[in-house]
Amino acid sequence: MANDKNAGSGKLGTFGYNALALSIFILLWTIVSWISESLFLPTPWTVLKSFLDLCTYGDVEGISLGMHIFKSTLRIFAGFVAACILGIPLGILMGLYPRVYDSTKSVIEPIRFIPPVAWIPLVIVLLVGFSRYAFIIWLGAFFPIFIGTLLSVRSVNPTHIDVPRSFGAKRLYIIRKIVIPSTLPDIFTGMRVGMGIGWDCIMAAEMIGGENEGLGVMILKYAELIRIEDIMVGMIVIGAIGFFINEIFIFVERRVFKWKEAIVIS
């Protein structure tokens, strides 16, 4: 019992130390940048000011930060949903009929190893506007989801399949009641990984892709102007959105998969 108390105070302590670490970091940052007075090392307060300016006045072309965020998330969302719609059923199907996958490996595997970012120039030539981005995200998110689902279907615990079989259950019943629930956590993990890669891809696609809106192109614009504080704002926003999306996944996983022994999160 006293252990519990300890854990409680420990947690509070950890929180306190973290706050302390952050304060010291910001203080050091401020001092160093004041002393150096370098163009390349803005103070935290300059960064904050840039953030507020970006929100209210917009960037050099007058496009507000909100608009950039909106465009990026919209693209991500479209590509990601497409990847789920295709990747999950295909993964389940090919997991159930391993021979189909084994026989088409020669076509699927090479594509898997081409980084999705390498498709960007091809996509620029072949597609226009929104579809460019959606396609790249789709490509980036598809393989983790597809492969995650496929491997998971293949590794369903055989005893769990035998249980309904021993009662004489039909194939469809086994798929619905055993295969799908047991793969669901892995599908989710695949989705989380796919989302992460999709997020990397959208950055690259926006930097290369030609449009003026999107977080990726925004930070690249500021790189050309050598405005570090604005790049930092962009990166922090990117990190925050990535973190937020990841938290949503973890929240849903904890909720839906209460039955799991322990969810390893990293």
């Binding site: 615990n157 005893t159 769990h160 035998d162 249980v163 309904p164 079989r165 021993s166 009662f167 004489g168 259950a169 019943y173 009641k177 055993i178 629930p181 047991s182 998969f257 209460k258 039955w259 799991k260 022994e261």
Partner: protein
């Protein structure tokens, strides 16, 4: 002797590896048949054949003259591996067999049956728990309850307590005897534990090492509950131990 329910006469090969050779026996109604054999002698293969989960490479396993098939016959299986479905609560897990057998899990009748078996194995109050929240012994109780719920004509248990520690195992043996004496069922129970076999069985079949053949058969007529240290018990146990080749 009561009516013969199951007739076994078969051999099993995997590619060129012969696992079961000339296995020939009958199971009588309401009998508690225990099959013992050394580790790795193909006991699980035999269990799967008896439950209709796989087909023999030659010969037959029949119930009332028909090849055993879980889609037709009312057979239940208790697996050696922990078999609770992790994403189902105890209640849902137990209702699974009934649902497959065509009972609507929402009807009062089905619910009453589930309640009854949960009570039978002493799990009342744990209906809404997930497998990760209960102990190994309780998980095996769930598996037993699930098997009993469908009122099977034939109940197969493949080393159901192999993963439990000695004390839990002992308690579960008493439990399974209590349940069997209340709801007489035809049981085939497979184990490598000779003490357990002598404690439970009305009849014991001893298998040899791989490829497994039937080595001996014993009828056990000791009064129940059996005394693990009674002279007759120890004599039979020693005799069977002798017959079972001990493996390093």
């Amino acid at each position: 002797m009561e009516r013969e329910l199951i007739d076994v006469d078969m051999s099993m090969k995997f590619d060129n590896l012969s696992v079961l050779e000339d296995i020939k026996f009958k199971v009588h109604e309401n009998e508690f048949l225990v099959i013992v054999g050394p580790t790795g002698c193909g006991k699980t293969t035999l269990a799967r054949l008896l439950g209709g989960l796989s087909k023999p490479s030659s010969g037959h396993v029949t119930i009332a003259g028909e090849d055993v098939n879980p889609k037709i016959h009312n057979v239940s299986f208790v697996f050696q591996e922990p078999s609770c479905i992790p994403w189902l609560t105890i209640w849902d897990d137990i209702s699974m067999g009934l649902e497959i057998k065509g009972n609507n899990p929402q009807t009062a009748e089905t619910k009453a049956r589930i309640k009854e078996v949960i009570k039978l194995v002493g799990l009342d109050g744990f209906e809404e728990y997930f497998p990760k929240q209960i102990s190994g012994g309780m998980k095996q109780r769930v598996a037993i309850a699930r098997a009993y719920a469908t009122k099977p004509d034939f109940l197969l248990m493949d080393e159901p307590f192999g993963h439990l520690d000695a004390q839990t195992r002992y308690l579960m043996q008493i439990e399974i005897m209590r349940i069997w004496e209340r709801e007489k069922k035809t049981v085939a129970y497979i184990t490598n534990n000779i003490e357990e076999a002598v404690y439970l069985a009305t009849r014991i079949i001893v298998l040899s090492k791989l490829p497994a053949r039937i080595k001996a058969e014993h009828s056990i007529n000791l009064p129940r509950p059996r005394d693990l240290t009674g002279p007759d018990f120890l004599r039979i146990r020693a005799e069977i131990t002798e017959q079972c080749e001990v493996v390093g």
